[in-house]
Symmetry: C2
């Protein structure tokens, strides 16, 4: 068994992230060592999941793995229940919540239409102030959204698996009651993790249950949405518009029909950019390494059985 203070950071494929996380480990009072000697592994490249099994196999004394992002589906089949797993859960929530508000306001205020205009456009728009927002998922994004919108007089409904009310939401309902609350929303925000239950949850039935005037905003994962059904709903004006920071696949390929939908706003997975996120995850790693050294509970624990 390795000493707790011996911690590996890998891979080095993203130098800025690698350097920042090595610095976090040292700032917390631990030593950066090769994986062969490490009690813990800080994974430093969200995209390099292919390299992950080989690195873990080379680390006989591993007890804890810290993954960098909040969404860990690339690592889902690696979650050995004999280890402790943490991820970036909650770390990126504030910039992502800001992006939800940016996308909602862009849709409500027709900024996407105005951005394409070369002539004074039609005068239109509606307010987020006083509107009705449905948030699917009760994690850090929902919490941050409720915090940022606190003075906006927005009526917020949070849909989650457990019946526990989320603080500051107007109401919290369980997932089985989704269709009771869907039709009254002016905007539906997807901020849930991808699980077998949530994959493809936004399908033709879901979209048909939304108001014709409502916008869909996805900052969760593309896999939450059946994209063919969304294209049809936009084309047939079943909903007012969709603002997607995540798609399936990513990048969305050239020629995909969503590019042609006038009321579809597609941002390239930038709710939290590397520049916004690196100081935030570096701070989380520093915190968690400190907790690890003191034997305290880690922040951002992955529920291995639930897969998020």
């Amino acid at each position: 068994m390795a000493e707790r203070a011996k911690i590996a950071v890998a891979p080095a494929s993203r130098p800025a992230m690698f350097e920042a996380l090595c610095e976090s480990v040292r700032a917390a009072g631990a030593e950066v060592v090769p994986v062969e000697e490490a009690s813990a592994l800080i994974w430093a490249d969200p995209k390099a999941a292919d390299a992950f099994p080989g690195v873990v196999a080379a680390a006989p004394d591993l007890e804890w793995v810290q993954l960098p992002y909040a969404g860990i589906e690339n690592f889902a089949d690696q979650l050995d229940p004999a280890l402790l797993w943490t991820c970036g859960k909650g770390v990126y929530a504030e910039p992502v919540a800001e992006h939800v508000i940016a996308l909602t306001l862009a849709g409500f205020r027709s900024i996407h239409t105005a951005s394409r205009a070369t002539s004074w456009p039609a005068q239109e728009g509606k307010n987020l102030l006083g509107a009705n927002m449905l948030i699917i998922g009760a994690g850090g994004i929902a919490e941050s959204l409720l915090r940022l919108l606190e003075p906006w007089n927005v009526e917020t409904t949070v849909v989650r698996r457990s019946p526990e009310p989320l603080a500051h939401a107007t109401r919290t309902v369980t997932s089985d009651r989704l269709f009771e609350v869907l039709s009254s929303a002016d905007v539906v925000v997807l901020a849930a993790a991808v699980t077998p239950e949530t994959t493809g949850m936004v399908d033709a039935d879901f979209l048909a249950a939304m108001s014709n005037d409502a916008w869909l905003v996805n900052v969760g994962r593309g896999a939450l949405v059946v994209h063919d059904d969304l294209v049809a709903a936009l084309r047939d004006r079943v909903i007012a518009g969709a603002a997607l920071d995540v798609t399936t696949p990513e990048p969305l390929p050239d020629g995909h029909p969503l590019w042609d939908e006038p009321n579809c706003i597609i941002t390239p997975h930038v709710a939290n950019t590397p520049e916004m996120g690196l100081p935030l995850i570096a701070d989380r790693v520093r915190q968690n390494v400190g907790r690890w050294l003191r034997g305290d509970a880690l922040v951002g624990m992955v529920d291995v059985r639930a897969g998020y």
Copy 2:
């Protein structure tokens, strides 16, 4: 002298507004009468300033005039100091403040660029969270902005004529110190009235003093900005971008060079649309007529000498 309870609403050129304001007068307990018999006039068409002098001339007993918008420059040469003048000051502030946030986020988050894309765009963006916002003008828009952004950890500097600090601003400075605070702003918001001092204040010198990374957001009036200087500043990347809800002239004509600037977002004077604003001004008129009947101070008084 007419009884206070006799109030005229004119003109009838915008039927929805005319009807709503007549209803407000009656709801407050007064009677809608022809101008010839009226103690007060509720002006019901912001655009019909040409008809205004004739209506006023026909009203010998007039003591109070309520104008519909916050900006009253169309009526500026009509402000007889023998009368009381009120306007829509503060009424439209909340939707306008929302639009400031919508435009700032669209610029910071490159939603204007994403809206034009037909291919996965470059990943870029910065946060309004924690940014530095300079607000020129300390009226209702500034107050509403500070209220809505209260949980956003934005550093706010308000520039105004008087030295009185605006509540909830990080700092308030007088207009003569504008150039000391301009360069540190990530976004400069124009929310001032048009007066001889503010007309054309955003010129080449002003723009050169802004940060290269900063956005200009104008929800005040087009006349605050020298548009040729703004075109040059955008073309030469002196500033990061401009988001304009107001322009000179309005509508901005086809072929104007601002339409071609990739980092210029132009919305067609919709910070407060008629649909958003009508219930708000109707409520203000109902309040003010009630105050008029009781002899209380009116809300939204125009400073006849200052012209706003």
